[in-house]
């Protein structure tokens, strides 16, 4: 009986240690803000609650150590305590693993290696189809989709500008459109108010700033309205991603998107064409400015960013981008 009591006690001590380890790890992550390396902000609140619950469990576990099993003073085997030392080693080892990893291994932001593993989503196209883009670039210049779309004047104007044939130095903003007109331009395709709002919000800007907040929704919007956005100037930031089948003048400026946790990360990016493409080291962060051009690959429309300016920048504190689920608050 005494022996048994001791055995229980050891398990409770071990559990208390593990639980307090989890409490410390989580508290540290919350305090230093490292939690955002692992979870999307909308789950952070939940983790404050978790921290509270873990603290309560730790206290309950300490109580078990002190009081012993007076609550459960029966000899039954139902309480699930590992029976042999080896199973307990494996079980508790499993619990120590995340603690050890959290403590002894440095944080690492996901980068190009993982991006290659996951596959990159480009503007309306799959990176695997790049080969075709490369192959058809020469003819592409002349055949950027110019078929008039049943008398839709505004869009056609925009598209004409998008044609690389009129020398690309020409400023883009020539047609000053009223907000209502812009709205009409996008409302026709009917992808819902949400994307129409974003499209209008982006289209109004002389140089579209694709910052962290609108990155994902912005990309989706441009993908939906590829033709309308062709020819617009944009500015964005991301890490440099190369792939073996890229040409020397191509790289992707990419971001990882996280919807719940890093395990569901996917990579979104824009294919950039720049003479210096080879010189930007992979995983380094750059700010790119340039003009969107429409290409046609394998029946899909695809937007490519012709860079005019690429400058290296520091990696942002929060490297990931998130879906916002709400339209950007357009200040102007």
């Amino acid at each position: 009986m005494d022996q048994n009591q001791k055995k229980w006690k050891r398990h409770y001590i071990l559990r208390t240690l593990i639980l307090s380890g989890f409490v410390l790890l989580l508290a540290e992550m919350i305090i230093t803000g490292r939690l955002s390396q692992y979870l999307a902000p909308r789950l952070h609140m939940l983790n404050y609650v978790t921290l509270g619950i873990l603290i309560i469990l730790t206290i309950a576990s300490i109580r078990q150590v002190i009081i012993g099993q007076s609550d459960y003073d029966c000899d039954c085997d139902a309480h699930k305590i590992p029976r042999s030392p080896w199973t307990s080693l494996i079980v508790y080892g499993l619990f120590c693993l995340p603690l050890a990893m959290g403590i002894f291994m440095p944080d690492k932001t996901l980068g190009s290696a993982m991006a290659e593993n996951l596959g990159v989503n480009l503007l309306s196209n799959d990176v695997r189809k790049l080969a075709q883009v490369n192959a058809t670039v020469p003819e592409m210049e002349s055949q950027v989709d110019v078929q008039p779309n049943d008398g839709e004047r505004i869009a056609e104007d925009v598209r004409k500008q998008a044609e690389p044939s009129n020398t690309s130095e020409e400023p883009v903003k020539t047609v000053p459109l009223e907000e209502a007109q812009i709205r009409q331009l996008f409302a026709e395709s009917d992808f819902g108010d949400f994307y129409t709002d974003i499209a209008v919000f982006l289209y109004k800007q002389p140089v579209i700033k694709l910052d962290d907040k609108v990155f994902l929704d912005g990309l989706t919007t441009m993908e939906l309205y590829a033709k309308e956005f062709a020819g617009k100037e944009i500015e964005t930031m991301g890490f440099v991603y190369h792939q073996s089948d890229f040409s020397e003048e191509q790289f992707v400026v990419a971001r990882f998107s996280v919807s719940c946790c890093t395990a569901d990360a996917s990579v979104f990016g824009i294919l950039v064409e720049d003479k210096q493409a080879k010189n930007y080291p992979i995983d380094s962060w750059v700010k790119v400015r340039g003009k969107l051009e429409l290409r046609n690959a394998d029946g899909y429309d695809m937007l490519v960013l012709k860079a005019t300016q690429v400058e290296p920048v520091d990696a942002p504190k929060d490297p990931y981008v998130y879906y916002s689920f709400e339209a950007p608050q357009g200040s102007e």
């Binding site: 071990l14 029966c74 307990s88 939906l224």
Partner: protein, 334 residues
């Protein structure tokens, strides 16, 4: 004596780890001398760590939620009540279970302890299974995220809910007709009686609930951790390209997507975004298979299921769910 020594070793190991944790917290984490130049970790292993920790951090709140919800049922809901609320007629009971899923927004990590507890409390098995399968899909949170992810196919969320309900009903009916034995694990019976005694002794005692929660946390936690580890390893060391390369015919692409859903063990709130990222690679009905199969069966929940139900039952359940999902999603006009 040797046993004593070994356990002493284990305890002191834990103490050392804890001590290091304190040092590390106080020195401010990242600028820590402990690992600074100690070992250069290969980037792959650091990616494994990132995935593993993020799955664990994401799932723990939901597991705790499930644990507490089940502790709550255990303490405050009597068997009498469960029997009275559940409709007697199976053909009313099945939609009733589907409705439960709509009302309780629980994801697949949280639902297993809850269903196990409800079955222990006398909920008929077929009702519990329908709730278990449909619950993580048909709830409003998951459907909203699906709708958001599939902007171009607003129907996807609807097809997802309908297919999930059909699959759950089919399995529920199969269970109703073919499973006569209690599929809860051996020992569960005695455990129930045993727990009942505790509850009698300590009903309403908050401390007892918390002690139970600690037990259950370690109980469920080990399976979750193991599943998360395997999933993290596979995600880093097997490229998605390889998985996708396996099949391009309708049948094989369905199977590939379902296999992927199984391995990735994503939370049902998040998986739609992953599915959407395959939209260019696979046809929509394969994506639907991914969306329906993942929340019903995946690596981490399988381990949780094995813990709660008999081995044979879980194997049959997995087979039946796989086949039904395959047939239903192939047939759905997406």
């Amino acid at each position: 004596m040797p046993v004593n020594f070994r356990s002493l070793l284990r305890d002191s190991l834990g103490a050392v780890i804890l001590g290091l944790a304190v040092v590390w917290v106080t020195t401010g984490g990242t600028s820590n001398p402990l690992y600074a130049n100690l070992i250069t970790w290969s980037p792959k292993w650091l990616d494994v760590r990132t995935f593993f920790l993020s799955i664990v951090l994401e799932a723990i709140p939901f597991v705790l939620l499930g644990v507490f919800f089940s502790a709550f049922i255990q303490t405050f809901v009597t068997e009498e009540q469960v029997r009275r609320w559940t409709p007697k007629n199976p053909f009313i009971a099945l939609p009733f279970a589907g409705l439960l899923g709509v009302l309780f927004p629980v994801c697949e990590c949280a639902i297993i302890p809850v269903v196990r507890r409800l079955i222990q409390k006398g909920m008929p098995l077929h009702v519990g299974i329908v709730f278990l399968l449909a619950g993580p899909i048909v709830n409003p949170i998951v459907l909203t995220s699906t709708y958001t992810a599939f902007t171009r196919q607003p129907d996807m969320a609807m097809y997802r809910a309908i297919s999930a309900l059909i699959v759950a009903f089919v399995i529920g009916i199969l269970v109703l007709f073919f499973v006569k034995k209690n599929p809860l694990r051996l020992g569960m019976e005695t455990e129930i009686r045993h727990e009942a005694r505790h509850v009698e002794a300590s009903r309403g005692k908050l401390s007892a609930t918390f002690s139970h929660a600690v037990d259950e946390f370690f109980d469920m936690g080990k399976f979750l951790l193991f599943g998360a580890l395997i999933s993290a390893l596979l995600q880093v060391f097997v490229s998605r390209e390889t998985m996708l390369g396996i099949g391009q015919t309708p049948l094989s692409s369905h199977l590939v997507m379902m296999g992927m859903a199984y391995i990735l063990s994503l939370c049902s709130e998040a998986d739609a975004f992953i599915a959407a990222s395959f939209a260019n690679t696979f046809q929509s009905s394969s994506l639907l298979a991914f969306l329906v199969f993942g929340p019903m069966m995946d690596l981490k929940t399988t381990l949780l299921l094995f813990h709660s139900f008999r081995f044979g039952f879980v194997v049959k359940l997995i087979l039946a769910v796989t086949i039904t999902v395959l047939v239903v999603t192939l047939w759905m006009p997406v």
